[in-house]
């Protein structure tokens, strides 16, 4: 489907990506899911490594395809003067540019905000860096788990009284990419209303901290430095993850005394509901290790999904801890069309992960990730108006392909 006809709230918005790996591409993907036309500027000389992981064919890399559906690709060597000229011309016909290259790289290339702003005064220019683009530590670099460590998250994830283990190593890029997408969207709205573009400087590390704002408030209010607490929660008990049969696990969270009564009944231990050791939240918190042992002994022989259903029927918050097998089979995710089928230029289809929302009148999500330079003719010919001879000239000089 032509990007211009996908519908969605951002139909007609054009976004240029000078991005690599995951966070920047995720920002572009969210905007594409909302209907924007998102064009990746790529080249063999400066290839996104996710196009090469695990495969010989850079057009078939599964990780790249997972994060870049719905986008276009134009092949321009941004390390040449002519290439930079073409990119500036393209930005002149665009609304947003997103970059997450190494600190300072866009300036060295001649694609810094000041230069781009001269070519396109109302551009929304989004710069993404681990620590943001300026400041005493902005020279430092890292990958997603570094963001989570620096932002204060890793220190909070671990078993009580032990060294932190941190979130799963994959956490960070996509959250950071979403924060950038939201800021971009706000700037786009301002631009529509006033005609004024702007520069946005996004910090990955601060994006992480914004996921624990209340924990940080505990420090600024009380001087309390929170540490790993296993699965404990100050306002709920039980609140944990308990073993089930066949190495399954179930999460159970009891937020009120009536919910505790209901749980005691499902456990066939109704006497626990009124027992002074467990009747109130304060009592349960005081005996939490014992409470957790009681629950674990009871859950251990049960099927997690079945048990979650029986607890839910009594109004108790419970869910199976889902493995990757459970996730790809999750009937609710399929029913909500979270998993979508997209097609590539040859008509081959694959399944991709959709957005976290549904909305009325949403954009069509139908196109697979682009081959390298798949949309050269559209971008260089139609958008930039280059003649066939001019395009051949750039290709011969190695600026494009």
């Amino acid at each position: 489907m032509s990007p211009a006809a996908r519908g969605g709230p951002l139909q007609g918005v054009r976004v240029i990506e000078l991005t690599k790996v995951w966070a920047g591409p995720y920002t572009g993907k969210l905007l594409a899911f909302l209907g924007a036309e998102v064009i990746r500027v790529e080249s063999r000389e400066s290839l996104d490594v996710t196009r090469t992981y695990g495969v010989a064919d850079i057009d078939k890399a599964p990780g790249f395809q997972a994060v870049n559906p719905q986008k276009l690709s134009v092949q321009i060597d941004m390390k040449t003067k002519e290439g930079v000229g073409l990119i500036l011309a393209l930005l002149g016909k665009s609304d947003v540019v997103i970059e997450n290259l190494r600190p300072g790289a866009v300036k060295r290339l001649g694609l810094g905000y000041d230069t781009v702003k001269s070519a396109k005064p109302d551009i929304v220019y989004v710069s993404m860096g681990m620590y943001g683009s300026e400041g005493p530590l902005s020279y430092q670099t890292g990958y997603a788990p570094c963001f989570a460590a620096l932002g204060g998250l890793s220190a909070l994830v671990g078993y009580e009284g032990e060294a932190p283990g941190g979130m799963n190593v994959r956490y960070g890029d996509s959250t950071y990419g979403t924060a950038a997408a939201y800021a971009t969207m706000v700037a786009l709205l301002h631009r529509r209303r006033t005609g004024v573009g702007q520069y946005i400087d996004v910090s990955a590390v601060e994006s992480m901290t914004s996921m624990i704002g209340d924990t940080v408030m505990d420090y600024t209010l009380n001087g309390t430095v929170q540490r790993c607490e296993g699965n404990r929660h100050p306002e709920m008990a039980p609140h944990g993850v308990y073993p089930c049969r066949e190495q399954q696990w179930i999460s159970i969270a009891v937020a009120s005394d009536p919910a505790w009564s209901a749980l005691a009944e499902v456990m066939a231990r109704p006497e626990l509901a009124q027992h002074p050791d467990f009747r109130t939240l304060a009592a349960r918190k005081a005996r939490e290790p014992e409470l957790d042992r009681l629950l674990a002994a009871w859950t251990a022989s049960q099927d997690a999904q079945d048990l979650a259903g029986r607890l839910q029927a009594r109004g108790i918050a419970a869910a199976k801890s889902q493995s990757s097998v459970d996730l790809v089979a999750d009937p609710q995710l399929w029913a909500r069309q979270f998993y979508r089928t997209v097609s590539d230029r040859d008509g081959d289809t694959r399944t991709v992960v959709g957005p976290g929302w549904s909305m009325t009148g949403e954009a069509s999500i139908a196109d697979a990730a682009p081959r390298l330079g798949e949309h050269n003719a559209y971008v260089l010919g139609q958008l930039l108006g280059l003649s066939a001879a001019e395009r051949q000239g750039f290709a011969d000089a190695g600026v494009t392909r």
Binding site: T175, S207, G230, T351
Partner: protein, 392 residues
């Protein structure tokens, strides 16, 4: 004037997801009015952390953080007479945000399937655990349950000991904060379109789906058949020596995946004998569990004698991605956070002066700003179009 000045938002939220979404909009100048139950107010007023000052209903640091720049209006939506007042308010706003269990909206007269016939201009956004039509076995969920339904729980921590339970995420509310980001993104996108078309939308954000979408790089490969799915707790993991290590004053995290990282480690440690036994480019080509264990052992020995911020600085200057595992104290003291003004002073009328974490993006023309502390319970609302007299 900020980017969302003039945008009117009615917040029917009583939990972290909806309140944080409202905050994200209010930070950019949206006029956000939250409805609170007379007497008790939002349930988040009763939740930790608590400030030393303020007293019951006014001392919650959680409420203070989530509700900056907003105003509050008392209205009990459970009363039959409230509906007329609610509808009058809806007439005057651009956006309604809510985060109650699915089905609640229809109960107050804002049915997602039909509200557009009466209010075609309205952007209505709901944040729920599993979307507006959950199956019967997913009607009750706290953030812990959503985190575990999404796949993140089962796969946290990395390098798990399979005999021990998988863990919750950091803090209490990560799924709510994540979902609020998507909700705010969609709301502003809908406003962007509405400026031209005049039409609103219904936006149905599922926390489970938001979290599952955050692992698209991995889950997308799994659902397309390019990566194995399994009951392995390590199914999301990456392999290599990357890990958290204890140091003299806390913990550090080291990432190592490329020859440049290995070379930098050599410089940092003074090219010790044990490193010479490793083949060139072993990280990419010959990354065996034995080598990983050996590297971790030696790095561990060294880091135990180091301080985290100094070690990180030296490593980064050499090109090794070593960082401190920061806690809240480190964040408040961070020279980078100070440079960017991440913490902002704000005086709460009951709690007194405080320092608030802000947002991770700096916009050159329309920066987010904290100008007003969270509203007090029962504070008179003035100048609010369409809401006069609702507090009585």
């Amino acid at each position: 004037m900020s980017a969302l000045s003039g945008t009117r938002v009615l917040e029917l939220a009583e939990d972290v997801g909806g309140e944080y979404c409202g905050k994200l909009l209010a930070d950019f100048g949206a006029e956000v009015v939250k409805l609170e139950k007379p007497g008790t107010g939002s349930p988040t007023r009763q939740r930790a952390p608590f400030a030393p000052n303020g007293g019951p209903g006014e001392n919650s640091g959680l409420f203070a953080y989530l509700n900056t720049n907003k105003r509050s209006c008392a209205l009990d939506l459970a009363l039959p007479a409230a509906q007329a007042a609610l509808f009058q308010l809806v007439e005057h706003v651009d956006v309604v945000i809510e985060d109650h269990p699915s089905g609640w909206l229809a109960g107050i007269g804002l049915d997602p399937r039909s509200f557009q016939t009466r209010w075609p201009h309205l952007v209505l956004c709901s944040i729920t655990a599993f979307g507006q039509s959950p199956p019967d076995d997913r009607r009750h969920a706290e953030d812990l349950n959503v985190f575990h339904a999404s796949g993140w729980g089962y796969h946290t921590p990395s390098q798990a000991d399979e005999r021990r339970p998988p863990l919750k995420g950091p803090g209490r509310f990560l799924p709510s904060y994540e979902a609020a980001l998507d909700a705010a993104l969609c709301v502003v996108a809908a406003l962007y379109e509405r400026d031209v078309t005049g039409h609103g939308r219904f936006i149905d954000v599922s926390k489970q789906q938001v979290l599952a979408s955050r692992i698209d790089y991995v889950l997308g490969q799994m659902v397309s058949g390019d990566m194995d799915v399994s009951p392995q707790r390590s199914a999301f993991d990456l392999f290599g020596p990357a890990s958290i290590f204890p140091c003299r004053d806390g913990y550090c995290y080291i990432w190592m995946s490329a020859p440049a990282h290995w070379d930098a480690l050599g410089k940092l440690l003074g090219h010790p004998q044990w490193m010479r036994a490793f083949p060139e480019r072993w990280l990419e080509r010959e990354c065996t569990p034995e080598r990983v264990a050996q590297v971790r052992h030696h790095i561990g020995d060294w880091l135990r004698t180091q301080d985290k911020h100094e070690a990180a600085q030296r490593a980064q200057e050499l090109g090794l991605t070593l960082v401190a595992v920061n806690n809240a104290r480190d964040l408040e003291a961070s020279p980078q956070y100070r440079h960017r003004g991440f913490f902002v002073p704000l005086t709460h009328p009951a709690q007194g002066p405080g320092r608030y974490p802000t947002v991770p993006y700096k916009l050159s023309v329309t920066p987010a700003a904290l100008h007003t502390p969270a509203p007090r319970l029962g504070e008179p609302v003035s100048g609010l179009s369409g809401a006069q007299g609702l507090g009585s």
